[in-house]
């Protein structure tokens, strides 16, 4: 089974620029998550999709962050304009079901550095 694919792996931008990250979840996984992991911290949930609908985006800074999941498969997370504090690893995860333990499979992440 192929894993969760993310790109780009690394991105360096200046503050106030924009950036987009792409995620391809495991085939058949209906639920997709974007997490932000700041250095030395645990991952923090930004947004959860069920198929192509948003289930939870309560912690997404909507003034600068946006995400979409077209056709219920791939997803894109965008930051515009970026701030210094957005420097982090952006992790995409997917899961097959959302009951019980709801095991998440994570991608390797996209590391963003904002200068």
């Amino acid at each position: 089974e192929a894993g969760v694919a993310q790109s780009p792996r690394y991105k360096i931008i200046e503050k106030r620029q924009s950036v987009a990250f792409w995620c391809n979840p495991i085939s058949g996984h209906a639920t997709l998550y974007w997490y932000q992991q700041i250095l030395g911290q645990g991952p923090k949930l930004l947004i959860q999709f069920q198929n192509n609908g948003v289930v939870d985006d309560s912690q997404l800074p909507k003034d600068r962050f946006s995400a979409e999941r077209l056709k219920g498969v791939d997803s894109t997370l965008k930051i515009q304009p970026a701030k210094l504090e957005d420097s982090a690893v952006y992790l995409c995860a997917s899961s097959l079901v959302t009951s019980g333990a709801n095991v998440l499979t994570f991608g390797a992440g996209s590391r963003l550095t904002v200068l």
């Binding site: 969760v4 645990g42 995860a93 095991v103 499979t105 994570f106 390797a108």
Partner: protein, 113 residues
């Protein structure tokens, strides 16, 4: 008080030692308790999960949950250098809908050969 507290370490132990990693939490709604392992520059991968209180064993790993104390532990027996990684506890309340995991900060573990 944060929802999940975890000592970030680093925790350095010699090869072969028994390792104890712990988290405390404040939200009694959490029902599912997971441990993820994260190697440098990789995404977290699930090690173990338990439901409610009790113990669960898988090879050299044992997960323990004490809901009355809101305390969870992961024990690693016969630790190996390949166990060197960051260990994240992750908790989830029961029920469907919005169910993203709440993570601890992670404990950086170093096993010295």
């Amino acid at each position: 008080q944060k929802e999940v507290e975890q000592d970030p370490g680093p925790l350095s132990v010699p090869e072969g030692a028994i390792v104890s990693l712990n988290c405390t939490y404040s939200n009694s709604a959490f029902q599912y308790f997971m441990w993820y392992r994260q190697y440098s520059r990789k995404g977290p991968e699930l090690l173990m999960y338990t439901y409610s209180s009790g113990n669960k064993e898988d090879g050299r790993f044992t997960a323990q949950v004490d809901k009355s104390s809101k305390y969870i532990s992961l024990f690693i027996r016969d630790s190996q250098p390949s166990d060197s990684a960051t260990y994240l506890c992750a908790l989830r309340a029961s029920g469907g809908g919005a169910d993203g995991l709440t993570f601890g900060k992670g404990t950086h573990l170093i096993i010295q050969p």
